[in-house]
C-alpha cells in the first residue's frame, strides 16, 4: 500500500534543525534503577503489616458495618425505610450510585485512554486507579440492587427465561444500566488482573526465594504460570492493548447510559441533549478527584515521591482543571438554553436550583466543581500537596452534590405544584451511604497490603535506564 514515507533523501531544511532546550520532565526521580523499584514496590507487600494499617482497617470495617446494618434493616423491613416520598421517589440511592460509578471512571481513563494516547506518566498511578474503579463499581452496585426491594428477586434484572414469562423492559435505560455496568465491571476486573500477572509472578518468585511457601503458592496460583518469557510478554502486551481498546468505548458508554437514566425523561432539568458528554466529563473529573485523594496520602506514607513526582501531581491537577471547566461549560450552557428555550418549566427548574429550597446544594456544587479546580491554574497550589488533597476532597464533595442537585431538585418541584415536597434522607439512607466509604476503604486497604500498588515493569519502562539512548541500569 505505498512506500514508507521516510525512505527519501532528507531535505535541506533538516540541516537547519537546532532545537531549543526544554527537557522533558523525568518520570522517575533520582535515577532510581530497576532493583530499587522492585524492592520499593514489593517491600510494601512483603514487609510487616504497619500499625497504622491495622487501625485504618479496623475503622474501615467499622464504618462498613453501617452499610451492612442499613441494608440488613432495609431487607428486613422494606424500601420504605429510605426517605423517599412523593414526589421524590428517587434520591440518595441513585445519587450514590452515580457518584460511585463516576469515581470509577478515572481508573479506566488512566489505564485505557491514557495508554492509547501513549501518556507514559500514567504508569505510577494506573494500578491503584484501576483498583479504585473496581471497588467504586462494587459500592455503586449496592444501591440499585437493594433498591429493587426484594433483593432475592434481583436476578430478574437479567433477561433469564423464567416460569412467569416476565421480561425486562428493554426500553428502560435502567435495564441498559444493568448490562453496561456489569460489562464495565467485568472488563475492569479483567484489565486490572491482566496487568497484575507479571507482578504476581515477581512476588511468587521472591516469596519462594525466602521460603514463604504458602504465600508463594497463592501468588503463583494467580500468576497463572507467568515465567516472563518473550512469548509471555508478547501475549501480555497484546492482551493489554486489546483490553485498553475495549475499555475505552466502554467507559464512555457506561456514563452515557447513566446520563440516559435522566435525559430520556421529560422532566425539566433532566431532559437535555448535552447530558451524555457532560456526565462523562463529570465522571472523569470526580474520578481524578478520588485518585488524588487516595494517591497523595499513599505517596507520603510509603515515601513514593520518586515514583509519583510533582509532574504526576501537576498532570492530575491539570486534568481535573480541564474536566472541571468542561463541567462548568455544561452548567452554563444548560442554564443558558433553559432561558433561551423559553420553556417556562425548564426555566423554572434552573431558577429553582439556584435560588429555591435547595439553593445551598446548588452553590456547594458550583463552588466545588467550577471554582475549586480553577485554583489548579497556579503552580504554587499544585506544588502544595496538602492543599491539592483538600481541593481533591472538595471535588469529591462537589460531584456528590451535582448528582443530588440534578436528581432531587427536579423531582421535588415537578409539574404538579400540589405534590411538591422537600426531600430529607432517613437515618438508614445516611448510614448506608456513609458505610460505603468504609466498604471502599476496606477493599482499598486490602489492595495496598496484598497487591503491588504500581505495575513494576511499566514503571521500569519509563525510567532513564530503560531508554536505549540513556544511562544503563546498574
Amino acid at each position: 500500500m505505498g512506500a514508507h514515507l521516510a525512505d527519501h533523501p532528507a531535505p535541506a531544511i533538516l540541516a537547519e534543525v537546532q532545537p531549543a532546550s526544554l527537557p522533558r520532565k523525568e518520570l522517575v526521580h533520582h535515577g532510581r534503577d530497576f532493583h530499587w523499584i522492585t524492592e520499593k514496590i514489593c517491600g510494601i507487600v512483603e514487609g510487616p503489616t504497619p500499625t497504622w494499617w491495622w487501625w485504618c482497617f479496623g475503622v474501615a470495617a467499622f464504618v462498613a458495618s453501617f452499610t451492612v446494618a442499613g441494608l440488613t434493616y432495609l431487607v428486613g423491613t422494606g424500601v420504605g425505610v429510605w426517605g423517599h416520598a412523593n414526589p421524590v421517589n428517587w434520591a440518595w440511592d441513585i445519587v450514590n450510585f452515580v457518584f460511585w460509578i463516576g469515581i470509577g471512571h478515572a481508573g479506566t481513563l488512566i489505564s485505557a485512554i491514557l495508554c492509547l494516547l501513549r501518556q507514559k506518566w500514567r504508569t505510577s498511578i494506573n494500578r491503584a486507579s484501576e483498583a479504585m474503579t473496581i471497588f467504586a463499581v462494587a459500592c455503586a452496585a449496592i444501591f440499585p440492587v437493594f433498591h429493587v426491594g426484594r433483593i432475592w428477586m434481583a436476578w430478574y434484572l437479567f433477561p433469564i427465561p423464567n416460569s412467569n414469562y416476565i421480561w425486562q423492559n428493554f426500553r428502560s435505560p435502567l435495564e441498559w444500566d444493568v448490562f453496561a455496568v456489569s460489562t464495565y465491571g467485568t472488563v475492569s476486573v479483567l484489565f486490572w488482573y491482566i496487568g497484575l500477572i507479571p507482578d504476581l509472578g515477581t512476588l511468587r518468585d521472591r516469596f519462594f526465594t525466602v521460603g514463604r511457601i504458602w504465600r508463594a503458592r497463592i501468588y503463583g496460583f494467580f500468576a497463572m504460570g507467568w515465567r516472563g518469557s518473550n512469548r509471555h510478554w508478547s501475549n501480555y502486551e497484546m492482551a493489554y492493548l486489546i483490553l485498553a481498546g475495549i475499555s475505552t468505548p466502554l467507559v464512555l458508554s457506561v456514563h452515557t447510559i447513566v446520563s440516559f437514566d435522566f435525559a430520556v425523561s421529560l422532566l425539566p432539568g433532566w431532559h437535555t441533549t448535552i447530558f451524555p458528554p457532560y456526565f462523562v466529563a463529570g465522571a472523569i473529573f470526580s474520578g481524578f478527584g478520588m485518585v488524588m485523594t487516595l494517591m497523595l496520602p499513599l505517596r507520603a506514607i510509603f515515601r513514593l515521591e520518586d515514583l509519583i513526582t510533582q509532574y504526576h501531581i501537576d498532570n492530575m491537577c491539570k486534568i481535573t482543571l480541564a474536566t472541571g471547566t468542561m463541567v462548568g461549560y455544561a452548567y452554563s450552557i444548560e442554564f443558558f438554553i433553559a432561558w433561551y428555550g423559553s420553556n417556562p418549566y425548564e426555566g423554572f427548574a434552573f431558577i429553582n436550583r439556584a435560588f429555591g429550597h435547595y439553593a445551598w446544594a446548588y452553590w456547594i456544587m458550583v463552588t466545588c466543581n467550577v471554582i475549586t479546580p480553577q485554583f489548579f491554574w497556579f503552580k504554587a497550589v499544585r506544588q502544595n500537596t496538602t492543599l491539592v488533597w483538600c481541593l481533591a476532597i472538595m471535588v469529591n464533595v462537589g460531584m456528590w452534590f451535582e448528582r443530588f442537585v440534578i436528581i432531587v431538585t427536579s423531582l421535588a418541584r415537578d409539574f404538579l405544584p400540589s405534590s411538591w415536597g422537600y426531600y430529607s434522607p432517613s437515618v438508614v439512607e445516611i448510614f448506608t451511604f456513609f458505610g460505603t466509604f468504609g466498604v471502599f476503604s476496606f477493599l482499598f486497604l486490602l489492595f495496598i497490603r496484598f497487591v503491588p500498588i504500581m505495575p513494576m515493569s511499566e514503571v521500569k519502562a519509563v525510567t532513564a535506564a530503560a531508554d536505549p539512548h540513556g544511562p544503563h541500569p546498574h
Binding site: M1, G2, H4, L5, A6, H8, P9, A10, P11, A12, I13, L14, E16, V17, Q18, P19, A20, S21, L22, R24, C115, R118, Q119, K120, R122, T123, P249, L252, T256, F260, A263, V264, S265, L266, H271, T272, T273, I274, F275, P276, P277, T325, Y329, A330, I333, E334, I337, W339, Y340, G341, S342, N343, W377, E458, A461, V462
Partner: protein, 419 residues
C-alpha cells in the same frame, strides 16, 4: 546522499484567481436567484471555512497544552492556515451589512415584521422571540460576531508570531508563551464557537434549542480540520517538501485522530437525535420533522436522504475505512478519506442551514436546486481566499519549526515511543 533539487514555491495567484471567480459568481447569483439565496450560500460557505479554521486553531492549542512532540512538523501548516481568519472576518462583513440593511432576510428574528411560518402573527408578536430578544438582537449579533473574530484572530496572531519568532532566535520563551495562550485560548474558543454557531446557524430556527449544538459544531470542526491537515501533508509530500520529514507514524496518528473524532461526532449527533426522538416533545422534534417528513404536497422530502447520507457517509463509511491500519498509512487513500469527510462536513452544514428557509407552503427549500450552484461558488470563492492566505504565509517562513524544542521528537517519531 545527493542534495535534493530545490522545490518551487507554490503559486498563490491561482488560488486568488479561483477565490475572485467564486466570489464573482456568487455575486451573479444575487441577480439570478435573489439576495436571499446568495446570502444563504455565503453563510454556508463562510461557516464551512470558519469551521475548518476553528478546528485548526484548536489543534494548535491542543498541541501546545499537551506539550506534544509528534505533531510539531504538522503544526506549522496549521499555523499558516490560521492566517485566513482576518480575511474570513472581512468576508463576513457582507452578512453583517445585510443584517443591518436588509434585516430579516437571513435571520428572520432580526425583523419584527417577519411573518411566522405557521401564519399566526409576526416575530414581533411571538412570545418565544420576545423572551429571548435580549440575546437575539442585531446589536448582540454584531458585537458578539466581532468579539468571536477578535478572539480567533488574536489567538492566531500570537501563536503564529511566537512560532515564527522561534525560528529566528530559538528562544524557549516562545514555546512557554504559546502554552499559556493555549491554556487561556481553549476555553475562550470553546465558548466563542458555541455562541457563534448559536447566533449564525441555530438561530435561523430560533424556536429550536439543543444544549449539544456547540459540541456538535466542535466535533465537525475538528474532523474537517484534521482532514484538511492530512490533505496538506500529503500534498507537501507529493511536492517533495515533506519527503524525509513526514513518516508513516505521523499519518497513522492523524488517521487515529480522524477515527476518534468520527466516533465522537457520531456519539454527539446520535445523542442529540436519540434524546429528542425519545422524548418526542413537539418543541424539539419539529427541527428533525422538517428534515424527515414528507412535504405538504405529500412528496418525499429531499432532506431525509441527506440525513441518511450523513448517517452512512459521515459515520459508517469513514469509520470502517479508518479502522483499517494500512489505509491510514496510504498517501493515496488517506487524503481521499479526508476529502470525503470535508465534503460531508459541508453537507452537514447544508443540512443544518438550508431547511431553515421555507417556501410559501412552509416546506423547506429542497437540497438539489439551482441555488446550490451559488453555494458551491461561494465555497470555492471563500476557499480560494483561504488557500491564498495559507500559501502567502507558507512562502514567508521555514517549512518546519526548526528551533522548536520538540522538533527532533517529531522528526524521529516512531511507534517505539509507545510505553
Amino acid at each position: 546522499m545527493s542534495a535534493p533539487a530545490p522545490i518551487a514555491a507554490p503559486r498563490t495567484g491561482t488560488a486568488l484567481g479561483i477565490g475572485a471567480a467564486g466570489i464573482a459568481l456568487t455575486a451573479v447569483g444575487v441577480f439570478v436567484s435573489g439576495l436571499e439565496k446568495a446570502a444563504t450560500s455565503w453563510l454556508i460557505a463562510l461557516t464551512f471555512w470558519i469551521g475548518i479554521g476553528i478546528g485548526m486553531l484548536l489543534l494548535v492549542m491542543i498541541h501546545h497544552i499537551f506539550d506534544a512532540g509528534w505533531s510539531t512538523v504538522i503544526r506549522r501548516q496549521y499555523e499558516h492556515a490560521l492566517a485566513a481568519f482576518k480575511w474570513l472576518a472581512l468576508l463576513f462583513v457582507p452578512l453583517l451589512l445585510l443584517a443591518w440593511l436588509q434585516p430579516g432576510l437571513i435571520w428572520g428574528w432580526m425583523n419584527l415584521a417577519t411573518p411566522l411560518h405557521d401564519g399566526h402573527g409576526t416575530v414581533g408578536t411571538d412570545v418565544l422571540y420576545l423572551k429571548k430578544s435580549g440575546f437575539l438582537n442585531r446589536d448582540m449579533f454584531t458585537g458578539c460576531t466581532a468579539a468571536f473574530f477578535g478572539i480567533w484572530i488574536g489567538l492566531s496572531y500570537f501563536f503564529r508570531r511566537n512560532s515564527f519568532s522561534q525560528d529566528g532566535d530559538g528562544d524557549v520563551k516562545w514555546t512557554l508563551s504559546n502554552r499559556k495562550f493555549a491554556a487561556a485560548g481553549l476555553p475562550l474558543t470553546a465558548l466563542s464557537l458555541t455562541f457563534a454557531i448559536i447566533f449564525w446557524v441555530k438561530s435561523l430556527e430560533y424556536h429550536w434549542f439543543s444544549t449539544m449544538y456547540g459540541v456538535w459544531f466542535f466535533a465537525g470542526c475538528m474532523r474537517a480540520a484534521l482532514s484538511t491537515g492530512v490533505i496538506i501533508m500529503v500534498w507537501l509530500w507529493n511536492r517533495g517538501d515533506y519527503r524525509g520529514i513526514l513518516n508513516n507514524n505521523h499519518l497513522h496518528c492523524i488517521g487515529q485522530l480522524m477515527l476518534s473524532f468520527t466516533v465522537f461526532w457520531a456519539y454527539v449527533t446520535f445523542s442529540q437525535y436519540f434524546l429528542i426522538w425519545n422524548a418526542n416533545v413537539p418543541e424539539e422534534t419539529f427541527w428533525y420533522n422538517l428534515r424527515e417528513m414528507n412535504n405538504s404536497d405529500g412528496q418525499p422530502n429531499q432532506w431525509k436522504w441527506v440525513g441518511l447520507t450523513l448517517l452512512f457517509g459521515h459515520f459508517f463509511l469513514p469509520f470502517l475505512l479508518l479502522l483499517w491500519y494500512p489505509l491510514k498509512l496510504s498517501k493515496k487513500w488517506i487524503p481521499r478519506v479526508g476529502a470525503w469527510i470535508i465534503f460531508i462536513f459541508f453537507l452537514d452544514l447544508c443540512y443544518n442551514i438550508m431547511p431553515a428557509f421555507k417556501d410559501h407552503h412552509g416546506d423547506p427549500e429542497p437540497f438539489l436546486q439551482p441555488g446550490l450552484l451559488w453555494t458551491l461558488a461561494a465555497t470555492a470563492g471563500i476557499g480560494g481566499v483561504c488557500v491564498w492566505a495559507y500559501l502567502r504565509s507558507f512562502a514567508t517562513t521555514k517549512l518546519i519549526p526548526i528551533r522548536d524544542p520538540r522538533i527532533v521528537e517529531s522528526l524521529t517519531h516512531h511507534e517505539a515511543n509507545a510505553p
